[in-house]
Symmetry: C2
Subunit: 547 residues, 2 copies
């Protein structure tokens, strides 16, 4: 596979070339929302009973012309290699025998689940706001025995019993189809696993691929929890330099090219952890070409890529400034999907990307339900972990999300919801940007309009501080933090997100989120932060600030 | 603390002696369901907002006269010792400042949680059956903003946002009070943590206390998942002999007394994993004296005890045989609680018991919500794990269970529900016992009426098999298993539950569950099993079977 070209046309699929031994075969068009019913018909009878064994293979389009994924045996940890399938779960195959009565498994009877039904009031498609839902929302009923009564593909009797490490067949089908619609991975044997959230998935992936003393590579500023999850396992983070588009591929390449086991005290890293869209904390988004370059370096050094993408659907409208009208929203689903930067998964011809998706930022964090997409080999090892640990997401979460996403909204309605979220986050981002422009002195602070995510990353011109060079940067950072708290505003100091702990900081940043606070509060918060900042820098108000 | 005496009166608290420096103080009476409102009043204002930091300490009765728990630093693994609190979570303390606006944390706004309310149809106290719930159940509404509207202590805006590794304050309060009502641990600094289920908790506990090469001790037949969770971590199980009351303390003592690191290839074990009530797979229940003896051995060898108790509230009525009337159900909550064998936690003066509780067998497995009870030190280390892994149970599970258990039923109603479950399981057990008596030839099969749980453990007289001594016991076991499948019935072979894998079996068992199948199906299943058994043993029908 040739590396991706540097200058692709806009808004098209990554330049993945289909590889096939039978070049005369006609390739079917990619799955769309409208194509899902026909796709399901092709899959035959849906098996979604209590603890039904399931797999994405049942729910994907066949794509025999795509290459098979690489194998990763040489990257599996001792722990992961030694995992065996559960002996009791092995007996499940006998349950398929007609007429069999099982006294085998320890599944309790649904007779004693004290829930006759659940009803959820959820938005009608196109009327998504909280206010509209109160008035025009739909009441969707989830019964205990909806499946035998022919009312639904999922019910409480199934969802509230034990399940499989894959997640339920129902949710797995939805996320598999969604993944195919959005990313359509260019290798054959990709699968999804429904999990209890990306933090759990990340912990599991470290344990699957790393041994004590190993390094994981990431952006130089990164999601603090990713570092803190790794540390107790003896796994250290190494930061790669970033620019406005996030991780710099040349720096990644140099780091690996010049790797010295002895000097580094560890073997050459082979796991890259990256947040390509709306990166936490910097808010940067890798463009399409940037992603292709990163992927090419990963191929060169045979890296596994953990693509952590909670903010993928928080890609926003272009920032048009305080006085220009907003850019028009995507008019169709096709336009919407084409507006998104293609994921690393979408260009992953080798099966080296393990993508983590999450509903936390687009539905609710408390669902504790996400999914990974990876090769069938990696998914199989991942399931072995789940079944002797978190098992599978809550049945309440699974059945409620399934009813909402699959049966109430459907794939098309869910994309409409995501466009709604895009609009809302664009508005929120614009509020914080306008506040920054209004209140922050340009001499002391600079920032880029984030293209995705929920974070505004503000660079502080630490070199303008009277004590610069005399005191540590983190001490000046702490002064600003404490002064901000004094002014009744909380922003997160950039040093908290350093990939490498204990490193001497030369630059100074603060992270502000525009996800949570109401609009006027955000504006006021930035005003207060500005007051604190100026006080710490002993900076005199002057005419450069427009009030 | 003297070891428990051997001959205690029936149905009373374990003989725990309160230790105090101020013996004149008047000890308050133990917490009861009726005492909960007064208890809550004493705690002051309830803090249960979004991701509120919380602790059992807020919800327990003060008990300064009790001893403090032992410290377990010397037992913590390298991984656990090195865990640090999250830096971002540390900033949460500033949120308490009045008037502060936070742009710090990445919590999304509840405006975009697409759930206006959830309504659950649940049983009215005293009318617990599925049929009664359909007709007389109550519809309980959970709104998005119930807390600011003064309708409840918990709502969707809180439950569906991010949470803490402790679980929500609301559920933690309920399980803490429940634990105090039922077990009232005899040391001061016990706490609970709400987790995503006992399988996850067990995985976490192994990682907290074991290193590769370590042994965990358990009953010689044990929960297969407990063994399979440990194996990939390099942790091996060692089985202790059992009798009708489960684990034999003398055998445990001998094993530890005679431990030889060299011969065993590992250091002396200090973790005991045990299922005291309705043990899986043997159905055995440790009596009160047995538990005291086990605890005494644990004290002698300074063991940590993982008390896995999913079946604690599946302690059933005494078995009265096929023709006698059933024993009357407990008439009061006090009578009910006194009818339960006291837990190891209840006699744990040292803080060496880590109890795992579960709603899986008494509410529903799909809740994926359980809790541990242990010393504050162990709980703190456990939380550090949760917050960089599974985080906390699903918000849907938490808010639904809280509304049902805490606000709809209350503690008293929940005990009523547990008495209902007791009655139902007693009936189910009696059906399988009667089927065994009717169909299984006494020459080939023997069993005890289980006092708790969901399993009937059937011993097969393998020595009566024509090939006994010529073929391996597991091969004869497999013949019976295959013949059973041929007869359309599934029971689980005992060898699947061996604590030590690869050991030569001399006895032969099958496990049947009476939790799932309908009554007539269970009876038919045992009849079929009997046919298979007799065929494999070439056993001729004779007059000894009453038909």
């Amino acid at each position: 596979m040739a590396p991706p070209s540097k200058d692709p046309p806009n808004h098209q699929d990554a330049d993945v070339r289909a590889v096939t031994d039978t070049p005369t075969v006609e390739l079917p068009s990619a799955l769309t929302c409208a194509g899902v019913p026909a796709r399901r018909l092709k899959s035959g009878v849906f098996n979604g009973g209590v603890a039904a064994a399931t797999s994405s293979e049942f729910f994907k389009s066949k794509s025999l012309w795509k290459p098979l994924a690489n194998k990763w045996d040489h990257r599996l940890s001792k722990e992961s290699k030694s995992r065996k399938a559960s002996s009791l779960k092995g007996a499940a195959k006998y349950l398929a025998k007609p007429g069999i009565i099982s006294l085998g498994g320890g599944l309790p009877s649904s007779d004693y689940f004290p829930f006759e039904h659940i009803e959820i009031r959820v938005p009608t498609v196109g009327q998504f706001s909280e206010e509209e839902t109160k008035i025009n929302g739909q009441d969707v009923r989830i019964g205990k025995h909806d499946v035998p009564e022919g009312k639904s593909a999922f019910d409480l009797a199934i969802a509230l019993n034990y399940g499989q490490g894959t997640g339920s067949a129902q949710m797995l089908r939805f996320v598999t189809e969604h993944t195919e619609i959005v990313h359509n991975p260019p290798y054959q044997d990709w699968q999804c696993i429904v999990d209890v959230g990306s933090t759990y998935a990340l912990d599991t992936l470290y344990r699957m691929f790393c041994e004590r003393g190993d390094y994981v590579i990431s952006e130089e500023y990164t999601f603090a929890t990713a570092v803190e999850t790794a540390a107790p396992l003896g796994v250290k983070f190494l930061g790669v330099k970033i620019d406005d588009e996030g991780l710099i591929p040349e720096d990644l390449d140099q780091l690996l090219e010049n790797w010295d086991d002895q000097a580094r005290g560890g073997r050459k890293p082979y796991v890259l952890y990256t947040v390509p869209s709306g990166q936490n904390p910097t808010g940067s988004t890798q463009g399409r070409v940037r992603r292709q370059e990163i992927y090419r370096v990963a191929q060169k050094h045979d890296l596994l890529i953990i693509e952590d993408e909670p903010y993928y659907f928080l890609q926003m409208q272009p920032y048009t400034g305080p006085n220009a009208p907003p850019a028009p929203l995507p008019a169709t689903h096709e336009e919407f999907l084409n507006s998104l930067v293609p994921s690393l998964l979408k260009m992953d011809v080798d099966g080296r990307v393990i993508r983590m998706d999450s509903f936390s930022k687009v539905i609710s964090p408390g669902s504790r339900l996400g999914w990974i997409t990876a090769t069938s080999q990696i998914c199989e090892r991942f399931i072995r972990n789940c079944e002797v640990s978190a098992q599978n997401p809550s049945g309440f979460s699974q059945v409620i999300l399934h009813r909402l996403l699959d049966e109430h909204w459907g794939h098309a309605g869910y994309l409409d919801w995501l466009i709604f979220i895009r609009k809302e986050y664009t508005q929120r981002r614009d509020i914080i940007l306008q506040a920054c422009e209004k209140y922050l002195p340009k001499e002391l602070a600079s920032w880029n309009p984030p293209a995705a995510g929920m974070f505004q990353w503000i660079k502080i011109a630490v070199e303008k501080h009277p004590d610069f060079g005399k005191r540590e940067v983190v001490d000046i950072e702490d002064d600003i933090f404490q002064a901000s708290v004094g002014e009744c505003v909380l922003l997160s100091p950039g040093s908290w997100f350093a990939a490498e702990r204990g490193v001497k900081h030369t630059a100074l940043f603060f992270r502000a989120t525009f996800a949570a606070a109401a609009g006027p509060d955000m504006t006021e918060a930035i005003r207060r932060f500005s007051v604190a900042l100026k006080r710490v820098f002993k900076w005199e108000e002057n005419e450069q600030i427009s009030v």
